[in-house]
């Protein structure tokens, strides 16, 4: 019974994924003026050849700041969780 439920839900999920793959917009279809602005003015405004890096570190620096905060929190949590016990070395 449980396997049948898993199979039905998985097949519905895969069918939705395939449908979404056929219904997706073509590449760059809803044309936005922001894309053209970034492609035309990246090298003049930021001096960077790689437009992706210019977007990540200059136009949308707040995103990178949040990403760095998330990474910092993750590293802090993992190091705190897997810390070595200092007290166990005192006991023989």
């Amino acid at each position: 019974m449980r396997k049948i439920a898993i199979a039905v839900s998985l097949s519905i999920f895969v069918a939705l994924l395939i449908g979404a793959a056929f219904l997706i917009h073509p590449f760059g279809y809803p044309p936005s003026p922001m894309d053209d602005y970034i492609i035309e003015n990246t090298q003049r405004e930021t001096g960077a050849n790689s437009a992706i890096t210019a977007v990540v570190f200059d136009y949308r620096g707040y995103d990178t700041l949040g990403e760095a905060t998330i990474l910092f929190a993750a590293v802090t949590g993992v190091v705190m969780l897997f810390r070595r016990k200092k007290l166990s070395r005192i006991k023989p």
Partner: protein
């Protein structure tokens, strides 16, 4: 610790892995890549070392609290550079046109000049420092935790 063949090949390949990671970090404003990706490549080199030599031997020269200091300093450099442009707006690229990393490339495809892009190379280096130290600390601490349970039982 794995066999001698694996250790020899790892000690040869680690140079290329680390140099490739540093190349991706420092050329982030010219080629695809950047701080995060280069730091991940660098940390994969550290993972190769941990797999080949064992985490106890690596831990003798690579302490996780020093990696934490490196990561925090990377974050501080990043936020400090973001505050540096506060005279106009937060995250303003205030070094474009200045003598430091201030060249402006011609529009369109060009061979690329490393002395461009203002604060973006510094931000790449800061984020790369942060990511390589953070990922290396996570890998090292997790690998040490697996060996520690065997010892303490």
């Amino acid at each position: 610790m794995m066999s001698k063949i694996v250790r020899t090949m790892a000690s040869l390949l680690i140079l290329f892995a680390l140099i490739y990671g540093l190349y991706i970090i420092t050329h982030g404003h010219l080629t695809p890549g950047g701080g995060f990706q280069g730091g991940a490549v660098f940390a994969s080199g550290v993972a190769l070392l941990i797999v080949a030599f064992g985490s106890e031997i690596i831990h003798k020269s690579l302490k996780e609290h020093r990696l934490s200091i490196l990561e925090s300093s990377g974050a501080l450099i990043f936020i400090g550079l973001a505050f540096g442009g506060l005279a106009i707006v937060f995250f303003y690229n205030f070094l474009v046109g200045s003598p430091i990393f201030g060249h402006i490339p011609p529009s369109g495809p060009n061979p690329g000049d490393i002395w461009t892009a203002g604060v973006i190379p510094f931000m790449n280096i800061a984020v790369g420092l942060k990511v390589l130290a953070g990922f290396s600390a996570i890998l090292l601490v997790m690998a040490l935790a697996t060996t520690l349970t065997e010892v303490e039982e």
